[in-house]
Structure formats: C-alpha cells, structure tokens
Symmetry: none
Subunit: 149 residues, 2 copies
Amino acid sequence: MSSDELFGAVSHPLRIEIVKALAERPLRFADLKRKLRISSSGLLDFHLKKLDDLITTNEEGCYSLSGRGFAALTTVESAARYYRLRSAQKRSFLLNLVVVTLGNIITLWVASQQNNYALWYAAVLPVTLAWMIFYSYWTIVKRRIRLWQ
Amino acid sequence: MSSDELFGAVSHPLRIEIVKALAERPLRFADLKRKLRISSSGLLDFHLKKLDDLITTNEEGCYSLSGRGFAALTTVESAARYYRLRSAQKRSFLLNLVVVTLGNIITLWVASQQNNYALWYAAVLPVTLAWMIFYSYWTIVKRRIRLWQ
DNA sequence: TTCAGTTGTCAACAAATATTGACCTTCAAG
DNA sequence: CTTGAAGGTCAATATTTGTTGACAACTGAA
C-alpha cells in the first residue's frame, strides 16, 4: 500500500471516524451504523470497502483494525498532533535557552562572591555555549522550526 | 485544515511528488512541469490548486512549501516511518544527558585544578540536576518515551 | 518583428467517488 | 407464522476529481 493509497483511504471524514471507532474496540456492522449515526447501510458498506486494507473481520462478524489500520491511525493522530508537537519542540528549545542563561547568571553571581571567575571562563561558558550553538543549529536548520513569527 | 482535508491534499501520487519536489527547493511553474514530466499545463494547474493550503508563491513566481506544506511532508514521511520521530526525541534526551554529565565533569576537573569546589556545589550541580530531573519527568512520564528496550 | 518559452486559465469530458434507497437473506422472538 | 433486526448487496444518480487541449498574455532573444 503506497502513501497516496493510505491517504486516499483516510481522506474522508466518515472513514476517519470509522478508523477511530474501531481503534477503541471491535464493532459489528449495526454497531458502527448506530455509533456513526449513519442511516444508509449502502453508505457504510461503501466506506468499509474503501477501508479494505485497514480493517479485518473476525469469525463473529466483528470489524477491527488490521496492522495497517493501526499504522493509519498513528498517521492520522500524528497529523492532528503535528502543530502541538512542533510548538512543544519550540518550547523545549526556548526553555533550554532560559535554563542555560540562568545557569550562567547564577554561576557568575556565585563566582563574583568569591572573586574567582576562572571556573566560569574555563568550563561553564564554553560548554553551555557549545551546547546552545549545536542545539540552535539542530532546531532551526535541521528541524526547520521557526522560533519567531 | 482538518485531517481529512490534509489527507485529501496528498492522496494523489502527483501531488505527493509535487510536495517532495518543493521540499527540496522552490521551483517555478515550468521547472515543476519538466521535473515531474507533465506535458499538460492544465494538469499541473489543477493539482497546484488542490495543494493551495500547502504551498506559497514568492514575488518571483517560485512555488515553495508553506508551514502546512512542511507539516504535510512530515505526515507523508511519517506514513512510511512513523516511529522515527519518537526515536529522535529519545536521542535528544540522551544527548542532553551526555552534555550535562560532561559539563559537570569538565567543571569539576577545572575546580580541582584550583582546589575550589564552591562554585560547582553552589551553582553548576543544582542547576544541571534540576534541569535533568525536570527533563526526565517530561520525557518519560509526559511523553511516555521508553529509553530502554 | 518574430519566435520560442513562461505562466497560467478555461471549457469539456472521462472517470472515480459519494449517497440514496430498494431489495435480499438469515435468524430469533412473540 | 409474522415481525423486526442484523448484515449486508446492488443499481441509479449526484457530485467531485482528473485529464486534455485550446487559448492568451507576457518576456526576452535573434
């Protein structure tokens, strides 16, 4: 099953509903009709046939998701969660930046109390700086996450 | 844009090709025609219009992916390998752990050269420890990412 | 000026998809 | 035996999608 076939299979609201319903638990024909508020048997039949690769029936006539069906479900959910995920990655980066900056400020303050900045110069600053440069490259260039706008 | 609209947009092989081509670099109308071996302008026009939400054009007439377009691309790729994202998050955590640990080791080594551990005790250790505890909680509990097995 | 290439739009049609409603069989309860 | 529900199939039709080919405005080079 190629990508476009998978997308074709779940490119109708009713079929997405069917996949989600069957992910919860296996259902029979009439159960599905009731659950999705479909009045026409023909309509459900049509969409079930479109989902052929994604569902299986057991010996009792219950429909459930096949392996491909669960893969499709993951894809559907990842599409829905995508923006949340990216904004989480963005938050992760900004939080890291705040922690590193605060860490440097605290370290510098403690160093100033002792009038000994060598440790900050030699260790804390280079390590945190190198980390943030790498993390920035990874976030902005590799993941293409826009931190502004 | 709902899930089924996103899937509808990329449920045709040619449109998947277009999204992949534009992910590489922005292209103009004729460039796309040549690259995808399309003879009819009308055909390309039809599919570009279907991809309306996923692409933008700049002032020079170049088509490129919009934010949603990159989201769609990620979905297409996740359909093929949907677990890669989680393994990236796992790598991110482990890398952070290595960096923090190395940072502490380097800081400790520099401190030992000066025989002054106060800075490490008072600043570096508490900050990095607090960060890793929070990050662990977030990764393991919230994201449910399994670092072992 | 002409010619080729770019960048499309549009009408027409073919093909696929979505929906409805009629119809069928089986089975169990009243 | 009748009734009604389950579990569908099928034909007809409406709507959308996909494709072709004609056309047109603009641009730059010969």
